[in-house]
Symmetry: C2
Subunit: 408 residues, 2 copies
């Protein structure tokens, strides 16, 4: 349970001061779905005309809320929109009961808020395979609706946490045509993190104006180099959902605008890194950069093989510059590599080149780098121009404590 | 270090009484490659005419001894043959120094034993990326040659151990045409176990007669359903080597004989299971059977996704029948699955069917199964006739202790 875990040593000092987004209001409350004594449900209501884009898990066993959201993305944008998220229960692998819960929640949210049901999106995160006691959520909806406020984003970010040890928020502002466009979002995620298409639960809001089709394409592209490049434990969730909601309240059409894309990318990468920093049991934030691969796909395959290797992750936990295990991970990945062209760096320290340890390498230098909170492993394959960077954390006793506990 | 680790709770009571194989002699000795106070080198010498088949890792960063063996398999069979193995140093990622060490060792073994150098096979297992001090091995060769004996198999099996906590042996005898054919072998392996093509170090000997080409094909086929179906930590070694040596001393040609194939399969599966039972930190031996897949390949993909999931493995360590994580692993595997056709059993207990928990399921029944040393997870996908069975162990604190220690 989140309440029992110490805050990650890699956590930011505090939740950031997120700017309000015109056209977006939040509320959070305690429905008692599973957790006692904390908020576990959040409602966001978005102004009429808000364009909603979404990217979701590709899991073959994806949850009922994910299936419902996927069927709604890309529909008529004219009405208001709403997002309701609960923590404590994932409503995944719950058969027809799962779909019935989604229908009950989206119908009731529509009744209370006046938002069309086809524009009510939900997500559920927590234990898999248990029926969602959705009546507890319905009982809170009127209070949530009354409490909606533009400045309630932190309580919304906290309400969707499960094994997270801190809430995750990020924002950017850009000037476009003399006007300010604001982006702000939050995320939850700590374990079962190896996104494939989207990831975890992430909600990003902006007052920019843009066509839904543009936002959808942009979100998919940026996901490939942000959320889809992180891994905590190689396990992909059934509930991964990433949504971007553009209210248009700024009056600025950002379609195709590079500054907006860069700002959105910054927010997404910031949130993705915060998820890694809250990786279950994490004590090190690890960046793995692969260059010189035959192509970008091969580079990512190698980077993920290193990032997901239990032997690499335990070596990092032990502050051991065990580059032999990096060689092993490259060898097993299945992507092209030539042992005698490899070079490997830990931080700025050249460890190995041309198939063997560098003549100037001193293990104490690499060991000093490993003792920091931030570990950088760089591999050059010497084959071509392909590159990729991924982010992960170490594998520690705390990961096992969190996950071997009875039904954590 | 192996000496410091308690023996796996899943270990057999003792090393089996392996029958001698006519035409095969062993010796073991202490060369001090890395470990002090224990044997770390073994020599096997095989009678002239012995057919030698081998299957090796497909790692792109495979070791110098593996490359040398691969170049020699399938060559002229007429002379005697020899196998020299050291533990403590893998001679992997050691560049031209690695090849020079192999040349020095195979040349010296040839000089001492009279076996042609082209029939001297070597393997090295242990730390990656450090030069092999092969002079220490050469200094022991004369004594090893003098000590060769047909009954020294257990000391040979012990000499090749690294983080293994027990030596692994298995044998079978079959009657063919009124004569007895004997098969005996041994293996080492405990971590970095996710074989791809072959696995770890495994040596199997038989007095059967057969063409090398037949043995090679048979060994490859049987590997697919034995060593290639086990995983400890999803990490594939740079040194995996499996060799089968048929001396022909029984005078029985076993080519194409089903009883021989079944006996060899039994020996290989026994050794493969012993490697899992000695998986680093293992407290549970886990069998994962997938049926009803679209094809056998999909079944194995699903089974391996379950077997390699850190969340499934930690749940098993915690004796938690957390079938939701099994659903997650199936969903992420990438192979075909339909959530609403899935059924899942823990032992004999039907946990889930048709996309949800079974109405008769009582968690205390599944929890009782999880408390045993042997856990069986069976998944039926309801799609077709594809099936696969794989074997793994749980993920415990001891795995992290073993691998997060400085350069274990």
């Amino acid at each position: 349970m989140a309440a029992d875990l110490p805050v990650s040593p890699l956590a930011p000092d505090r939740f950031p001061d997120l700017p309000e987004i015109a056209g977006v209001r939040f509320a959070a409350g305690a429905a008692g779905v599973r957790y006692a004594g904390r908020d576990d449900v959040m409602l966001a209501v978005l102004a009429p005309g808000t364009a909603v884009a979404g990217v979701f898990t590709r899991s073959a066993t994806r949850s009922a809320p994910v299936l419902d959201c996927q069927s709604k993305i890309g529909g008529d944008n004219s009405g208001a929109a709403a997002i309701l998220v609960n923590s404590g229960n994932a409503n995944a692998f719950t058969g027809r009961h799962g779909l019935a819960s989604v229908a009950a929640i989206t119908g009731a949210v529509s009744d209370v808020t006046g938002v069309p049901q086809a524009r009510v999106f939900t997500a559920s995160t927590g234990v898999i395979g248990e029926p969602l006691p959705h009546d507890r959520i319905l009982a809170r909806l009127a209070d949530l609706n009354d409490a909606l406020a533009a400045d309630a984003v932190e309580s919304a970010a906290r309400a969707i946490m499960t094994t997270d040890t801190f809430p995750k928020g990020a924002s950017q502002q850009v000037e476009i045509g003399g006007k300010t466009v604001t982006i702000a979002g939050f995320a939850k995620g700590s374990g079962m993190i190896a996104p494939d298409m989207a990831t975890m639960l992430v909600y990003i809001f902006t007052d920019a104006a843009a066509e839904q089709t543009y936002l959808q394409r942009l979100l998919g592209n940026l996901t490939k180099r942000s959320f889809n490049c992180i891994t905590v434990d190689s396990d992909t969730s059934t509930s991964d959902s990433l949504m971007l909601c553009a209210t248009g309240a700024s009056g600025v059409d950002v379609t195709g605008h590079a500054d907006f894309e860069q700002a959105l990318r910054t927010v997404m990468l910031d949130l993705a890194h915060q998820v890694v920093r809250d990786g279950e049991g994490a004590t090190k934030f690890v960046t793995i950069a692969v260059t010189g691969a035959a192509n970008d796909g091969d580079a990512k395959t190698h980077a993920m093989a290193i990032a997901n290797s239990p032997l690499v992750k335990t070596a990092i936990a032990g502050e051991d510059p065990n580059w032999g295990r990096v060689v092993m991970a490259i060898g097993k990945s299945g992507a092209a590599a030539d042992r005698d062209l490899l070079s490997i760096r830990f931080g700025d320290i050249l460890v190995a080149e041309q198939g063997w340890v560098s003549p100037d390498y001193r293990e104490e230098d690499a060991a000093a780098h490993m003792r920091g909170d931030e570990v950088q492993i760089t591999v050059d394959l010497g084959l071509g121009d392909g590159s990729a960077t991924v982010w992960t954390c170490d594998l520690t006793h705390a990961y096992i404590d969190i996950n071997a506990d009875y039904r954590s």
